[in-house]
Symmetry: C2
Subunit: 304 residues, 2 copies
């Protein structure tokens, strides 16, 4: 797939090294935030640390931080927003992996939280990380930020009309006939909502005007969709590359995916369209948006 989605924006400068550098600086601060909370029962705290500080791409915190900087403020000013969104993301991974949900034993090469500890602890870890997200927002956001709007954005994008609703639709859609409407509904909520929230929270942390918040939110949503469709495609590619395994993980689970609904070529076009819409959403921000726009190109340039 060509990465030349938009010739007017600067050439992509973005590489996964950028995220690795970001995570190397972000993770110790996240660890410090959790470790200073001394009044947590030890097993729960160990499991929270295991889940929150597992090696991760930190894509959502990076997005929050970049959007705050694009709005003219420092990375530090976005830290609470970035940490809160990562708590929500990690909570969702722990609960999605539970036996009653996707029943996964491994995540990023390590046992999932319920395998490493136990199921009750994993449920509590998820619950505690979700509560911690709002505590971090309330205690760490800059004074100039509209905290009410930040809490609302995080809660709505996480809750029954957002990510959690997406997971419910994902479970309900398994083993149903492929439907592009269902797939779009699920991807928008399960992935898009939290990406959009990350971008908006970064903008809100900077005290950005409404138009900038809205534009960055659109960028985040389309970036999330581009990544998710690309992940759907990679899941198909990965499985066909493996000798003796004809079906992908998503297909085995009977999941609603783009390739299952519209085939590989149409899925590639949908991913390109999402990336293009993401890039366009930041067109009014000038050269400062080049890194984020390059990230959107990277999302669809991975090898599938």
């Amino acid at each position: 797939m060509s990465t030349k989605t938009d010739n007017k924006t600067p050439a992509p400068t973005w590489s996964p090294d950028v995220l690795r550098d970001f995570a190397a600086a972000f993770d110790p601060k996240l660890e410090a935030l959790l470790s200073k909370k001394t009044d947590i029962p030890s097993r729960l705290k160990d499991a929270m640390t295991y889940a929150l500080l597992a090696p991760g791409k930190r894509m959502r915190p990076y997005l929050a931080t970049q959007c705050c900087q694009l709005a003219g403020k420092t990375a530090g000013q976005a830290f609470a927003a970035a940490a809160a969104i990562e708590c929500v993301h990690c909570f969702s991974l722990v609960h999605d992996d539970l036996p009653a949900m996707d029943d996964d034993d491994l995540r990023r090469g390590r046992p999932t939280t319920h395998k490493q500890f136990d199921e009750a602890t994993a449920i509590l870890v998820g619950d505690a990380l979700l509560a911690l997200a709002f505590e971090i927002l309330a205690t760490g956001s800059p004074k100039e930020a509209n905290l009410g709007q930040m809490v609302q954005v995080l809660a709505e994008s996480t809750g029954a009309t957002g990510m959690i609703g997406g997971q419910a639709a994902d479970l309900a859609g398994q083993d149903q006939p492929p439907s592009i409407e269902k797939t779009q509904y699920i991807h928008q909520r399960k992935t898009g909502c939290l990406f959009s929230a990350a971008a908006k929270l970064g903008a809100l942390a900077a005290g950005a005007p409404d138009a900038a918040i809205e534009a960055m939110g659109r960028f985040g949503l389309q970036l999330g969709l581009a990544f998710q469709i690309a992940d759907d495609l990679l899941d198909v590619t990965a499985s066909t590359d493996q000798m003796g395994k004809a079906t992908s993980k998503d297909a085995t689970a009977g999941k609603q995916t783009y390739p299952a609904c519209v085939g590989i070529e149409e899925s590639k076009i949908a991913a390109e369209r999402a990336a293009k819409q993401a890039i366009d959403a930041l067109s009014s921000f000038g050269p400062g948006a080049a890194d984020l726009q390059a990230l959107a190109k990277y999302a669809i340039s991975r090898n599938y």
Copy 2:
């Protein structure tokens, strides 16, 4: 047990009818709040409604509302705080009942949420109710309230240093030798924190001064402890009343309880002490606090 804990306060006027009347007015508003959210997958929404609108005492919303009124404002001004705290309470019941936790099939005579629906849905219902609590606070709190403090109070009292930490300690303490320190730790967090938060949120919704918020928080904490110790006692009484069942539900589960640690008589004294401390916490509020003080007397007057 005598209810004459403090002769200086008015004679108890409080009866469970007060809570029934409160719930009859509160529940339709709670239902309206949830039903207007139209973009929730239907099974998830049905299960959220089932869990949130199960017949309940609405003790915590009542407490929030009373504290707001004691601080000179209307019941309506506390509605968001009251609804948020009930969402958190109901989330905790749904998750505590899960097979991996307390594994309960019945709650208040109805199947638990995971029995009525399924385990995955119950996990998502709890998650969604927790997110909804913060959404309600952020969108429905009065402008004069300190929203940052409200979110902080709710998040801390819910999270790993509060109720969720208490549930973790409760699970860890099962089948351990009885320990009054462990029991106090668990009761304070599992029950006391959310009662305290309910009272504080009511005061915060009224824009009450710090001293009033602190006093109401102490009242809520001690009220919660009085109720919890009384529940420990009722669990023992109920079981010995049942022919052919020698041990209580708590004892069967190997739970840390007051009677298991210090015996029935000492437990009664501890419950009276908590009720007395609750009543004393409101001594500066004058006759307006009589209903709440009577509630504290009621907490320990139940028949055990």
